[in-house]
């Protein structure tokens, strides 16, 4: 079950905690992986760790031309993109009242618009093959909102709407489009919290702990697999029960 032998997966934001866990998991299941991100040395280290079937594909997704170039590079390196994981994203938090237009736009550009452009470019090959998986890494805040994150919440909610519309457009071709909405995940950012802060956070999570990047990677593997072939246009909430949706 859940083997990905012979498949090629492109993971954006692969230099980050969740992205690298996704890449490791898909690779462990037999997929070739394209590792994209802006920090080339981090990607190179991950590729070296994975060994065969790992390709470093640096890209700065705030550049409008980058998505088409990245898909072309991934197709050239791996012979196609069967699985696209739109994981790249960043935050630029601030209360709405004080948020600058450029902070709004920068987050929308990468977290939402680049995901659309990548999907559009990857779809051409997927439609021809009559198979494909597009997985967007959204966020719980795209559903529940979060103060200080109007831009990020809008982008992550937008990713869900886009995925549903796209799912409807391409379902007849065997291409599925889904999202994962992670809750609080332990990352270098949460490592900086005090024990007290961490336990306060865990107290809000019925399953009693922060999530791990591997929790998200496992969900991603499932949606990427042949076994998930009858699931499209959905959002898989992976949040320890923090929001039961």
């Amino acid at each position: 079950m859940f083997r990905l032998d012979g498949k090629a997966a492109l993971v954006t934001g692969a230099s980050g905690g969740i992205g690298s866990a996704i890449a490791r998991t898909l690779h462990a299941q037999g997929a070739a992986v394209g590792l994209s991100g802006t920090r080339e040395e981090v990607l190179a280290a991950l590729a070296a760790e994975l060994g065969d079937r790992a390709h470093v594909l640096p890209a700065n997704l705030s550049d409008p031309a980058a998505p088409d170039g990245l898909i072309a590079a991934a197709e050239a390196a791996m012979g196609g993109v069967h699985i696209l994981v739109n994981n790249a994203g960043f935050t630029r938090d601030g209360l709405a009242l004080r948020m600058k237009d450029e902070d709004w736009q920068a987050v929308l550009d990468v977290d939402l618009t680049a995901a659309f452009r990548l999907s559009r470019a990857a779809l051409k090959g997927m439609l021809k093959r009559r198979a494909g998986r597009i997985i967007g890494i959204s966020s719980i805040v795209g559903i529940t909102g979060n103060p200080g994150q109007v831009n990020y919440a809008a982008a992550k909610a937008g990713l869900i709407g886009m995925s549903k519309a796209l799912a409807a457009e391409v379902a007849a071709r065997g291409v599925t489009v889904n999202c994962i909405a992670p809750g609080f995940i332990a990352t270098p950012m949460t490592d900086a919290l005090t024990e007290e802060q961490k336990s306060a956070l865990s107290g809000r999570i019925p399953l009693g702990r922060l999530g791990t990047p591997e929790d998200i990677a496992a969900a991603c593997l499932y949606l990427a697999s042949d076994e998930a072939g009858w699931i499209t246009g959905t959002v898989l909430h992976v949040n320890g029960g923090m929001a039961m949706l």
Binding site: K124, L127, E169, A172, R173
Partner: protein, 82 residues
């Protein structure tokens, strides 16, 4: 390359390959949707395939009017001879 017979041949090849229909069904008057079983996504993909094959750009308003094999041939021929 740009003569009508060659364009016709190539258009038909693309349609046969893309829609998976028998060559005999791909007559010049055949409608992609009504006669050849294409859906709206197929027609978009066909237009993109024509663009790629013939090195032309087919804007959306022109693409909408390409509903039969002959429409495609005529449009491509006009573009290539322009």
């Amino acid at each position: 390359m740009t003569d009508t017979a060659e364009i016709t041949k190539q258009v038909k090849e693309i349609v046969v390959e893309h829609l998976g229909v028998e060559e005999a069904k791909v007559t010049e008057t055949a409608s992609f949707i009504d006669d050849l079983g294409a859906d709206s996504l197929d027609t978009v993909e066909l237009v993109m395939a024509f663009e790629e094959k013939f090195g032309i750009e087919i804007p959306d308003d022109a693409a909408e009017k390409i509903t039969t094999v002959k429409d495609a041939i005529d449009y491509i021929q006009k573009q290539k001879s322009a």
